[in-house]
Amino acid sequence: MKHVIVIGGGIAGMQCASELLRQGVAVTIIEKEQDLGGKIRNWHKLFPTFTPADEVLTAVRHKLKISSNLKVRTGCQATSITAKKVTLSTGEELKCDAAVIATGFTLFDAKIKEEYGYGIYDNVITSADLEQMFNEGNVRLAQGGTPRRVAILHCVGSRDEKVCQRHCSKVCCVTGVKQAIELKQLFPKADIFNFYMDIRMFGPGYEEMYREAQTAYNVHFVRGRISEVSPTFDNRLQIKAEDTLTGRPLKMGVDMLVLLIGMKANAHNTLLSKECQLQMQSSGFMQPKDSFLGNVTSNVGGVFYAGAVTAPKNVGESINEGTAAAHSVIEWLEKR
């Protein structure tokens, strides 16, 4: 029986593993956390349909049936990956016939953009923190009480050369619109301001949701990047930006600032490119063999990619790539 190692137990990795199992291949999943699921575990609802993230995760998990052909190794990372052998951080070496890298991404650390005051002011939070609050059903200010005015800042750790993140993280725009609607549903009287550079609504239903946020929820959109955040005497946050559509500087006090943090490439990718001759893009994400015909294939035979390890992707795309990678693996194994 052929044996494939899937590195990363997020949605892409789990989907890939269940497809491979269905095709009669033995699979070992390597997951660095203590449990499978990945980043989606901490998300509340998914754009643009407001589907609970838990619903999607449960469905993907359910497909991954317990069988003697499936082994899951949690709490360890792969330090070297080839088509024949994967070395773990524990020092163990696992033999295989192919490997799939589905290690995903790292969330940008908002503390690096110190001018926005994350970790300094209590009411500056990230989009991931807000999802956590939604999950707990506890969206409130640090000092208690509900926000009357919230600013949501796009492109934090994306499209920013100052923090070595030139790429667009793609999903933050639509997340910002989704979170604005969710905040407005919770606090109908609050004013929500989205500060954007470009609104990139790349998927079906996204643009429609953006329009709904504008006209049905009266979410305000200001084109301009917030330059800095400072505290006011009454314990609010003063933000400054340029309203570039009027060509005037703009300032206002807000109760809460949500930073839409971007997707950063894993630091681990550098190690992979050095140790395993896998090509990496300048953004730090792994380089697929071809943008059209080989999105899930690496430059090394028998090593494949699935999900956000090659670029920022949304949930649907990641799941699809899990399936696509499994198909490419089967094709590769058949040729052996």
């Binding site: 504008q214 049905a216 009266n218 309203d243 559509l245 703009l250 300032k251 206002m252």
Partner: protein, 109 residues
């Protein structure tokens, strides 16, 4: 007083906290479609008045939404109500209706 040739400029910043947003809120609640503007500038590009004067419909209505009403009524008076902007607006905003609404709301300002 002796004029030394120095002066203090008024701050140029739009201060949302100081601006009175009541009229702005009224305008948006009467015609919520105005919020759907994506700032493309099609209205200004096709504007008859804008090709002959400084009139910039996109800029004026954006300022009005931020609570900057100074001069907005006078600016809107430059509009000839030809309606070309409405024909080109990709978001389907009744721009001519917006001109009339802003003039009605800010007429006594």
């Amino acid at each position: 007083m002796i004029n030394f040739g120095f002066a203090i400029n008024k701050p140029r910043a739009i201060d949302i906290d100081r601006n009175n947003l009541r009229k702005s809120n009224e305008i948006i609640s009467e015609m919520p479609e105005l919020q759907a503007c994506i700032g493309c500038g099609s209205c200004t590009a096709s504007c008859t008045a804008g090709n002959l004067t400084e009139f910039n419909f996109r800029k004026v209505h954006t300022l009005v939404r931020r609570g900057e009403y100074q001069g907005a009524y006078e600016e809107m008076n430059k509009c000839m109500l030809c309606g070309k902007c409405r024909l080109v607006c990709p978001r389907g905003i009744n721009t001519r209706g917006i001109v009339m609404l802003i003039k009605r709301k800010l007429g006594d300002f």
